[in-house]
């Protein structure tokens, strides 16, 4: 078993602040939207906590952004510009998760320090980190002070448009949070990816193909 350092400390710090914050945002956001159906806390407490954590997460986003902007690790997000190559690789990955993983086929994507995402992950995380999270943050800030940002709210089509975009992204993350947690358990052991991202930063790579975990290129 070989160990490769793929999750540097700033990324791990960002990820876990983000994970805890996102769960809190989902809970408080659900409470804000569904008063009477869910009664975990008062509406006012939910709004106050939602606002504070929202700003913490915006600050936290910059840990991620600045780390990748100012290190060569940004290469992990470099897109595959050839659609043919990308979709072929994605299809192979899909086949692996849909069938190969059950019979112990090797993971078609081989992890390295500069290539830690499989094709499906790289596409998904680019959409999440460069589009959905910033959009969620911007719409959240506009909703935080509708009066102060009246001009911007009006520019984007009114408060209902801003709110609908915010809620649609929340709905996406309501799906993604389950999906993401489950996919994290599909390492060579159910906790392998968690240990790497939580604690060590090292992914354990099996040198011989034949298991469901990541393999070295």
């Amino acid at each position: 078993m070989q160990r490769i350092y793929v999750h540097p400390f700033p990324v791990r710090l960002w990820h876990w602040i983000n994970a805890v914050g996102f769960v809190a945002m989902m809970l408080t956001g659900t409470q804000i939207r569904y008063v009477g159906i869910i009664d975990l806390m008062s509406f006012r407490t939910a709004v106050t906590v939602h606002n504070w954590i929202g700003f913490v997460l915006i600050g936290n986003y910059f840990i991620w952004l600045l780390f990748y902007l100012f290190t060569d690790k940004i290469r992990v997000y470099h897109p595959e510009l050839s659609p043919t190559k990308h979709f072929k690789a994605s299809f192979r990955q899909l086949q692996y998760y849909g069938y190969g993983i059950f019979k112990g086929s090797p993971n078609p994507h081989q992890v390295s320090a500069y290539d830690k995402f499989n094709p499906m992950q790289s596409m998904m995380y680019q959409v999440v980190m460069f589009l959905l999270v910033p959009l969620l943050a911007v719409t959240g800030v506009l909703l935080w002070d509708v009066q102060g940002f009246y001009g911007a709210v009006d520019f984007f089509g009114g408060i209902r448009v801003v709110d609908t975009v915010h809620v649609l992204i929340y709905i996406f993350f309501a799906f993604f949070i389950f999906f993401h947690v489950y996919m994290g358990s599909l390492g060579h052991t159910p906790t392998a990816h968690y240990k790497a991202m939580f604690v060590t930063g090292y992914e354990e790579i099996e040198e011989e193909p034949g298991h469901g975990g990541a393999t070295k290129r």
Partner: protein, 398 residues
């Protein structure tokens, strides 16, 4: 010659004095004339009797000396009174005790302007009995009963002669100057709340609330009012409401389109306000300890204020003109544009997004469960295939 010069000199001095006097008199005459000119147009609506009253009271001159050396101005701005909601009923409706024959000879005895105003609240109650009754249990009435010299009475909120419909907030903050700061200490988005929720909506908790969707002109930054002599709003709204059961989301879109026919002008939008269904119930103002502080009163699906919805503009004389809308417009996907300036989180949410959320959560749960089920099926199939393969190999061997 000398005598003649003296006479001439005296004549010149007299002429000069007379000219100065004439000019001063002309100025004195011009000043009220200018004041009268300003009052003239709206004052034309007043009756001859009212004009007679304003003949004296329309100027700043008349004053009454009160005990203790205080002075009470008897000036009434004619234009303000003419424009007021009381302009049509005339001076004597409230001042019925005034007898023109004895008015100047037997002036009333007034101990203080405050005492006079308090006594006049009974006159208000002559017409506004319901309002006065509701006011009896209000925090304002309790302060008055306790002898508080600053306790608000009718005229403190509504004015004495220039009585016009007012926004509650403007009226309230006239005295409650620290209201904004006090709300900021506990209320998220306090500025927005004080803009879109009338004070009485929370401070008269027993009253029924409603959503008043008022037409706002972003270009002039004013609420839209009908042009004088051209009432069109109700006719246009009635035409849009084809079923006659209140405007639904589609009809509301149509109405907004009608009201924004002029494509060159900046579109007018509806801004929602939480108001009392019956404005007079605002007189039931409670103390702040009893005011609504529970956000869930509004921020929940089916909340009481969202059960009654109306579209409104102001009439030419400042009264709200309302037309009923169906409550479903508040949560309709078709209202994204027509109600682009009103949304209450939790209270006016769109049910399609709720359905989408349930589907997303189900999908999120289905992926791991489905994948594990698939794993069991595939594993079982693979093991069975392996067993069959082994059995086949066993049969082939001698």
């Amino acid at each position: 010659m000398a005598g003649s010069r003296k006479v001439n000199t005296m004549s010149m001095a007299t002429l000069h004095r007379n000219l100065v006097k004439a000019a001063f008199a002309a100025l004195l005459m011009l000043l009220p004339a200018r004041l009268m000119a300003a009052d003239a147009a709206p004052a034309d609506k007043l009756s001859d009797g009212d004009k007679q009253c304003l003949g004296c009271h329309g100027f700043e001159g008349p004053k009454k000396e009160l005990p203790g050396g205080k002075v009470l101005s008897l000036h009434v701005r004619g234009d303000g009174f003419a424009k007021s909601v009381h302009g049509a009923i005339g001076c004597t409706s409230c001042h019925a005790d005034v007898d023109l024959k004895t008015h100047s000879q037997k002036p009333k005895t007034i101990a203080s302007s405050r005492e006079y105003s308090v006594a006049m609240t009974k006159v208000c109650g002559g017409c506004h009995a319901d309002a006065l009754k509701q006011n009896e249990t209000s925090v304002h009435a309790m302060l008055l009963a306790s002898g508080n010299p600053s306790a608000p009475i009718c005229t403190d909120c509504h004015g004495s002669h220039a009585v016009t419909p007012k926004t509650a907030y403007d009226t309230c903050v006239g005295c409650h100057l620290a209201a904004m700061d006090a709300h900021r200490k506990w209320l998220p988005n306090a500025g927005l709340h004080l803009e879109v929720v009338s004070c009485a909506a929370c401070h008269a908790p027993a009253a029924q609330r409603m959503v008043d969707l008022r037409l706002y002109d972003g270009a002039t930054k004013k609420w839209v009012a009908e042009k004088e002599g051209k009432p069109e709003f109700e006719k246009t709204a009635r035409a849009a409401d084809t079923d006659g059961d209140g405007l639904d989301a589609m009809e509301l879109r149509k109405l907004i389109g009608q009201l924004n026919r002029d494509e060159a002008a900046q579109p007018k939008n509806l801004r929602g306000r939480i108001e009392l269904r019956i404005g007079g119930e605002a007189h039931q103002l409670s103390g702040k300890s009893k005011a609504i502080k529970d956000c869930a009163i509004c921020h929940r699906q089916g909340a009481e204020p969202f059960q009654n919805v109306a579209i409104s503009i102001f009439s030419a004389d400042g009264k709200p003109l309302r037309y009923k809308a169906q409550k479903e417009v508040l949560g309709s996907v078709l209202s994204v544009d027509s109600l682009r300036e009103f949304y209450a989180v939790g209270g006016t949410r769109n049910i399609l997004l709720d359905i989408l959320l349930v589907l997303a959560v189900l999908a999120g749960l289905t992926v791991p469960i489905g994948h594990q089920v698939l794993k069991i099926i595939v594993k079982g199939e693979l093991e069975r295939a392996a067993r069959q393969d082994k059995a086949a190999k066993g049969r082939d061997q001698p």
